[in-house]
Symmetry: C2
Amino acid sequence: MNAPLPPNTDIARSMLRLGQQARTAARALARASTAAKNRALIATGEAIDAARERLATANAKDIAYAQANHQDAAFIDRLKLTPKVIDSMIEGLKQVAELPDPVGEITDMKRRPSSIQVGKMRVPLGVIGIIYESRPNVTIDAAALCLKSGNATVLRGGSEAFHSNLLLAQCVQQGLAAAGLPAHAVQMIETTDRAAVGALIRATEHVDVIIPRGGKSLIERISAEATVPVIKHLDGICHTFIDASADIDMAVTVCDNAKTQRYSPCNAMETLLVHAEIAPRVLPRLAGVYLAKGVELRVCAATRSVLAAAGIHTVKDATEEDWRTEYLAPILSIRTVESLDAAIDHIETYGSHHTDAIITNDHAHAMRFVREVDSASVMINASTRFADGFEFGLGAEIGISTNKLHARGPVGLEGLTSQKWLVLGQGEIRG
Amino acid sequence: MNAPLPPNTDIARSMLRLGQQARTAARALARASTAAKNRALIATGEAIDAARERLATANAKDIAYAQANHQDAAFIDRLKLTPKVIDSMIEGLKQVAELPDPVGEITDMKRRPSSIQVGKMRVPLGVIGIIYESRPNVTIDAAALCLKSGNATVLRGGSEAFHSNLLLAQCVQQGLAAAGLPAHAVQMIETTDRAAVGALIRATEHVDVIIPRGGKSLIERISAEATVPVIKHLDGICHTFIDASADIDMAVTVCDNAKTQRYSPCNAMETLLVHAEIAPRVLPRLAGVYLAKGVELRVCAATRSVLAAAGIHTVKDATEEDWRTEYLAPILSIRTVESLDAAIDHIETYGSHHTDAIITNDHAHAMRFVREVDSASVMINASTRFADGFEFGLGAEIGISTNKLHARGPVGLEGLTSQKWLVLGQGEIRG
């Protein structure tokens, strides 16, 4: 995936063909009716349901391979297509079929002085490349959202899920066929050669956007090499700032939830900032909650003194590195700050522009926080864990973007479309 | 501008400092009041007005240098800061000051089942890098739009306009100072070393978007090398399709305007497509109009026969290359097609996804055309020349984008902002 691929290799040729097929299919898909796209989604679910036994066999092959390669238990777990995972894929397809079709929406049609009417029409992006790691259910999730939003998809799954992914892609092909949609609307890259990824992320003529789903190193590598635009999600170093005027019960409840409801999601809180004025009243209570749940606390000197004064000593010293770390684990860094400005400074210096919240009763502080913190989601008096496509009402989510351009934060069907300008005239000319 | 810059050179260090200064200034600008931003715009105009004599001297130096380098008359013309150009820069600053401030708009706030309220807040993108060629007025246009939309700007003008640009940037600095805004909100790269551009377009930590303004080769070079997202405009191969049901008078008027009102803009028509059924009635009239205005016609065989039957022989044969060419000149390629599908196929095969129009009275055809032609602006019964920020009601335009992500078509103040998610809670937690 380093240098551009020489144009005459087999992989370059097969990627070119795949890109051309995707572009042609994208045109058909862009004009497909909502009914046909929904039919394809439901029929894909039916095909998956009918393929349960073959899926078990294919998945067992992948798991045996992963075990032989000494992958850890968490890896194997993500790879497993249990009956429950298959049920939820089929259910997911039904849910996507029920979502409103974003394509074709016409908005803001306004009459101009020239007498033309100008507005916007929502259309698919075209061809979307999805590069993901070992979870085979991403094959179905991603294909379903791209299909519903009228886009052709090129999928490149992790080599460890090769057999599972291939069979799932065949189920999608059956679904497309049942709805009379072109088979190339969803294509799987069948080689595990990394050069194929390199070709995909530079195929600006045939691919409109790349969405990588996986670990940070995958996403960094792709961002560095891609010439196709990438909708990406890097770190989720999320903060909550407890302001001096915060309701203490609310602060404890929300900060407990933001950290401990689940540790691994990207929208879990990683750093707690507390205004010095309220720290003696809120920190000992919160530390008690966290320590009781086994959360390791890494604290600044001021926080350490506040906790020590309350008889709490089982904390570690935070290092500079802690403020920049997304733990995704039962570890929380805590810093006591002297002001709202110091809190915002900390977030802008160390944060990842993902999701940040303030707990406050001060209206001016609340407004300054949401205006000045430059993150994809900013919250007043709520848990950072709400930063999620379902919670935000998108119906489904292809991922969370920390980009500023195009889709920011949770990305649903709308994030897979663009708006073009529509002009309705009666023969107007420019003077 | 090829390989990434080694990190220890003087240029790398000065670009890093400039990037950090821009990022800090961007935070101040994002929270600046509309009044302060407007004050800075007006004061910049006043500074330019007061600097007319020094501008003339600086500009004369640039022109002498360009002449010594044997630049052509058109180049010198673009470089010239005449009193009229200066008046229009000052007028432009006033107009941008009068535009509504896009920053802070809150929309779509909806209550979710969890009881949080979720919506969107419009915010500046952050730091915008503008890379442009010899027109010094771009310094002011670009700085004004970025400033009004709350973004910090890093400007890199063409080396031929070096002295003019530097002085104009100083006028902007005076304007910023008069409004109490940070001087680093608008910075000019003062070296003409190309390595500085290479550093700017890869400074993902300090620059949020690059907008190149200039010739195609500049834009292609920047797109190929940039890791910062680029809002770009490549070709403008714009088509008009005269459908079988078109009103002939309207077709003639609109197609005349689309080609001949001005030849050089990117939204001028370059290829005319005509339905075979209407060709004998519309083509001879249109050819007469074009030939009378000195427009060279490059036509397909079917068009040649239609015109020959009407006694018109002064045309050339179009080659495959013609369909892919943006002439920006009094040359038009014409193709007669058998159907709407053939017209759409032609546009999708040869077009540049900029602006395309249909002239028709058939509602179903009109709807298919605007749905299926994948261009930034699609038009029914209007001249492609309307694809313009002012004509579309944006008030001003930083450029036209042929990107699909983020801003598509004419880009105004809104295109220089993004929307983040805003969550208003009362202590809600995720269950």
